[in-house]
């Protein structure tokens, strides 16, 4: 029987604080007058900061909690910091957007916080049931967030689509868990891993369980062929929510993937490897090729985020400490550039998100050179040009891949990133090389949005020029998995 200790609570303190603030915001919502809902946003930000401080506190005394179903280790701390960063940036970037679109409701912030709680559990759990709960908490919050512009049909469609396919996906994942339980008699990752530590123990059923779990995660990662929902949802959802969706749950799912595929079931051998290889290759190619034809910036970035999932999968396929730390580094870089890009697009789109076509960006550089330069940096980082985070992220991923002798996959990924240059540059071409007046240029950037841009762009250059610290942290984070 599991005995309850206070250290257990301390080890999930960040999650507790986030959840408390989430609930508190919901309770306080009716008492805050209509014009001042921003206060709730600041409260949410306070919660995120508090959770950050709590993580720092927790990291002083790492260890397992709740009888081994939670692990407060370097791995989970890294991801928790990542999620908190994303949550803070999204909250900052949303306040003006919600005001402008008359969708300023307190629930928004509490859903962001609760979604973050779910993601933290996705990264920190070492028990399949806990992982599943984390997955569900984050999913349900994001389903609601996707439909947050209630009067907008695209937003509604996005929410419904995301909900239907998402619940389907989690069912797959649950089915996989059931198989693992049936085979090993436990849902604890340590226990299950011990039962399946020999290659000979990988029967058809065990491999089937692994595939089912991969399918479930594949939806969250939007890997091919489970990416069908992604463009519609990313396009339909409010843009700040898309920023959150495209990074948070994805990073969470990658955390699970790393824990399960590279940690617990690393003995699965070639079968798991083959699944990862194929899905990495397909995801990159489809994401990039489809993005070439897009005219809507949100949709273009949606396909680009599919492609990025493909690159990250190359790192997962490579495996080992190198691969894992590269994946984690890339997730940090990806979070910065994707959140920055979506928040900027959201702000420029104007009320009702009217201006989201590439055409709308025509001539932006002439009227707003600063804004255009910011977007250019974000896009260049997404394309992976040197001195930005995107380049070093890719470099580390491919270094790991070459180390694991995945030369074919690396060359494919590199060629894919050349293809991606074309579509990122279409936006740059529109901004710099055609001269027309654009309505977009009238967009006002309030200071919270400027802060988001400042943080993301400085972060991109910081990671791109002095990666040691973050890379060191991500390498430390892989220690629990080295046997």
């Amino acid at each position: 029987m599991i005995t309850f200790q206070t250290t257990d609570l301390l080890r999930i303190l960040p999650e507790i604080i986030l959840a408390l603030f989430g609930v508190m915001i919901m309770v306080l919502e009716p008492f805050v007058p209509a014009g001042r809902k921003n206060l709730l946003g600041w409260m949410a930000l306070l919660g995120v900061t508090g959770a950050g401080a709590a993580t720092a506190l927790t990291s002083l005394d790492p260890g397992p909690a709740f009888g081994g179903s939670i692990a407060a280790d370097g791995f989970s701390f890294y991801f928790i910091y990542l999620f908190l960063l994303v949550a803070a940036l999204v909250i900052l970037g949303s306040m003006d957007y919600l005001e402008r679109d008359h969708a300023q409701h307190g629930e928004y912030y509490s859903l962001v916080l609760l979604g973050t709680v779910g993601m933290c559990f996705m990264a920190a759990s070492t028990d399949l049931i806990m992982i599943f709960l984390g997955l569900e908490i984050s999913s349900i919050s994001t389903y609601i967030l996707a439909g947050f512009r209630r009067t907008d049909r695209a937003s509604n469609e996005a929410a419904l689509k995301y909900f239907l396919l998402g619940s389907f996906a989690t069912a797959f994942f649950l089915y996989g868990i059931a198989f693992v339980y049936g085979l090993t008699g436990t849902v604890n990752l340590l226990g299950a891993g011990a039962r399946l530590s020999e290659p000979s123990q990988w029967t058809v059923f065990a491999r089937f369980a692994l595939v089912l779990m991969f399918v479930g995660l594949g939806f969250k990662l939007s890997t091919v062929p489970f990416q069908i929902w992604t463009p519609d949802v990313y396009q339909g959802a409010p843009a700040p929510v898309t920023a959150f969706l495209s990074v948070g749950p994805k990073a969470g799912a990658f955390a699970i993937l790393l824990r399960i595929f590279l940690g617990t079931f690393s003995s699965a051998g070639p079968s798991a490897f083959r699944v990862l290889w194929i899905s990495a290759a397909l995801t990159m190619c489809l994401g990039n090729l489809a993005a070439l034809w897009q005219t809507n910036v949100k949709r273009l970035l949606a396909y680009s985020s599919i492609a990025h999932a493909g690159y990250i999968l190359v790192g997962v396929t490579a495996g080992g400490s190198r691969g894992m730390s590269a994946v984690m580094f890339y997730l940090m870089a990806y979070a910065l550039m994707n959140v920055g890009a979506f928040i900027l697009v959201a702000q420029l789109a104007g009320s009702g998100e009217r201006l989201v076509e590439i055409e709308d960006y025509t001539g932006l550089a002439f009227q707003r050179p600063g804004v255009a330069a910011c977007l250019t940096v974000l896009l260049l980082s997404l394309a992976g040009f040197p001195t930005t985070a995107g380049f070093l992220g890719k470099l580390f991923l491919f270094r790991a891949a070459i180390h694991s002798h995945l030369i074919g996959l690396t060359v494919l990924a590199l060629l894919n990133s050349v293809v991606s240059v074309y579509y990122y540059f279409r936006i740059i071409v529109a901004m710099y090389m055609r001269e027309e007046k654009t309505e977009l240029a009238t967009a006002v950037l309030p200071w919270p949005v400027r802060t988001v841009l400042g943080v993301t762009i400085l972060g991109i250059f910081y990671l791109g020029l002095a990666p040691d610290r973050i890379l060191g942290l991500s390498t430390l984070a892989t220690l629990p998995f080295l046997k």
């Binding site: 040197p386 070459i402 590199l414 071409v429």
Partner: protein, 513 residues
Amino acid sequence: MSWISAHSLTIVTFLPLLGALIIAFLGRERTPAIRWVALLTSLLIFLFAAWLYAALDPHRMGMQFEELHVWMPLPPVNYHLGVDGLSMLLILLTGLLTLISVLASWSSITHRVQEFFIFLLALETGTIGVFASLDLLLFFVFWEVMLIPMYFLIGVWGHERRIYAAIKFILYTMAGSALMLAGILYLYNVTGSFDLPRVLNHLTSASVLSPQAERWLFLAFFIAFAIKVPLFPFHTWLPDAHVEAPTAGSILLAGVLLKMGTYGMLRFCLPLFPGASREFAPVVCVLAIIGIIYGALVAMVQPDLKKLVAYSSVAHLGFCVLGIFVFNAQGLEGSIYQMFSHGVSTGALFLLVGMLYDRRHTRLISEFGGLATLVPVYSTFFLIVALSSLGLPMLNGFVGEFLILIGAFHSHAAYTACAAVGVVLAAVYLLWMYQRVFYGDISKESNRTLPDCNFREKLMLAIMAAFILAMGVYPKPFLRRMDHSVTAIMLRLQKAPMIYAERAPAGHLGGGR
């Protein structure tokens, strides 16, 4: 002073960026100030580069002015700069041509002047960085970063089809460099270092690469460089980019950026993969000769002056590649010399064509005729440059081409025979063009009012003409400084067959190291 000499390469690399920063903080409206800052910066860099070139010790083997700092501890990437006669010559060329480009854009760029000069100077930093880097990853960083300013220079200030040309330029180059990055990572995986001297040592002292791996790596690097050169059949981006770019862009593109390809072959392909280089040499030489003849033939039938000059670059760079892959001292020296002299000649040709375009807004040969009597100064300079480009003795083009042809003869007489056709064809297309533009009757009335060169233009052309004459008459100071670079490459190449023999399983060539 000691600080300056200890960090001289860092200074020469990042000084342009400093100038760009100053320009960025000047107001958009203060165009005269912006131009002067750009001019003074580029002049300072040129003088500094010239001083460094003069200070280069011709009697010392290996790299000079080296700087080594750790950039990232893991993976171990170093900020490692260093130059020898080869790379310093190209840095000097970059300084010279950027200075000329600033002058050439003085009055022809009136639109978004601030951004133009920022990109121009940023491009200089990237280019000098490419030539000064001794770390594979640092080299790659500069190699890619330099694309962005060039992309904007073509795409924003270019002519009608500029967007197409700009994106074609960047996609071609990136496709090549993607393969190179894979190669760099593979080399790192084998040797555990990105540092060029260390990688070289590792490859020389132990046979870590199988011949098969060496072949693939050679191709990964070589294709990236061949696209940049551009070697036939990778040349299709070049006419578009050259023709659509503004004058300054064309000067730098032809003068410096193409040299990054041949420089890469000399610095990376040959020393790192000597065995594979030898294996592929016949193919490369044949492609280079095809490039020489094909480029010349296509140049001959161009109705557009700028296209003619662009295709002549394909031919001239063919000579450079040929000189590299015949693997002897004459060929290599000629090739390096030709790299510099093509930069000067073709840069000057693009400059002259640009001046004509500024006046008449056309570059069609058929629009001109009889200019010699109308603009005598311009015509004289054009003649000097055209003669240097076709390789007239006593002018710079001759020295390089002559050495390359001698080198090729030692390797294979047939190479020389075929390549020499290119020399004749160069005379044909340049002189025929000169005849149609400058001699004959004045066919178009609008040409009668053409103004001759003003002081700024005369100054630029005089600088170029001085280089053309000096390099043709007295090439020794340049050749002397590249001797050791060539020797180093030759030594490395001569070791290659032994490495192959050691690897041979049969052991009849046995014996330890």
